[in-house]
């Protein structure tokens, strides 16, 4: 068997700023909500549920200063798209937006936004919760807590499905 030489850090071949499901930029909650405005105003939805995940200061592992997110970019994008398709099959989804941020986030910064619009509120709540659970169990994203004392720890996560 042969081994090839180890490769050092590669440039990320994907321009993640153009990727609407994963971004290295701050999540612009206002713009995303505004993007639903026209359809809301036209009466296309009966309910819109919005979820925001944000970095909190407290953890069982210590006082958190920052959170560092990384992902298997190509697979994460594919998996989020699959989740969107499943949600559209299970509920009558009128509009959906999922965006997850990567990189180093400070306290209070948004790591994920999920926006789901449906005809009825029950569907919107259920679909939003379903999406979040699926992301936590199926999308290859990892986060590391960076503590005030300078140490860090990868979160004990879920075995990917």
């Amino acid at each position: 068997m042969g081994y090839s030489k180890k490769f050092k850090l590669e440039d990320d071949p994907l321009n993640m700023d153009k990727n609407k499901r994963i971004t290295f930029n701050k999540i612009d909650e206002e713009s995303i909500l505004k993007s639903f405005d026209n359809d809301v105003n036209a009466g296309k939805f009966g309910a819109t549920v919005s979820f925001l995940g944000t970095v909190r200061s407290y953890s069982k592992n210590g006082k958190v200063k920052d959170m560092d997110y990384e992902a298997y970019l190509g697979m994460a994008e594919v998996k989020i798209k699959e989740i969107e398709n499943i949600v559209k099959e299970k509920w009558d989804i009128k509009k959906i937006k999922i965006i997850h941020r990567l990189g180093k986030l400070s306290l209070g910064e948004k790591s994920i936004m999920i926006l789901v619009s449906t005809s009825h509120s029950k569907d919107a709540f259920e679909a939003c919760q379903f999406i979040l659970e699926r992301i936590k169990n199926e999308v290859p994203i990892w986060k590391k807590e960076i503590f005030l004392d300078g140490t860090s720890k990868w979160i004990d996560g879920n075995s990917i499905n």
Binding site: Y3, F7, E10, K79, N137, V139, G157
Partner: protein, 88 residues
């Protein structure tokens, strides 16, 4: 002599704490035709014995699909070692 068609080329990606232990984000490896994920992991452990105790906690994907270790690899496959995830 082994012919070129009896060798497959595999790309391996590392993430999170596995990446920190290997010190690299990725590797390329040549394996005999018919090699499985199990064979690949054996080779990876030869290079990075420090990840041995962590292997039981990871899943492996091939071309974005989570697979079993008896999966047979093909030329050009992209394999990722996936520690427990924590997105959201």
């Amino acid at each position: 002599m082994v012919s070129m068609s009896e060798i497959i080329n595999i790309k391996i990606l590392y993430f999170a704490f596995i990446k920190e232990l290997t010190g690299v984000r990725s590797d390329k490896m040549k394996l005999p035709y018919g090699s499985t994920i199990h064979n690949l992991l054996t080779n990876i452990l030869d290079i990075y014995p420090q990840i041995n105790n962590l292997l039981k906690s990871i899943k492996v994907s091939v071309n974005y699909k989570v697979v079993d270790t008896d999966t047979i690899l093909k030329d050009g496959d992209e394999v990722a070692l996936l520690p427990p995830i924590s997105g959201g």
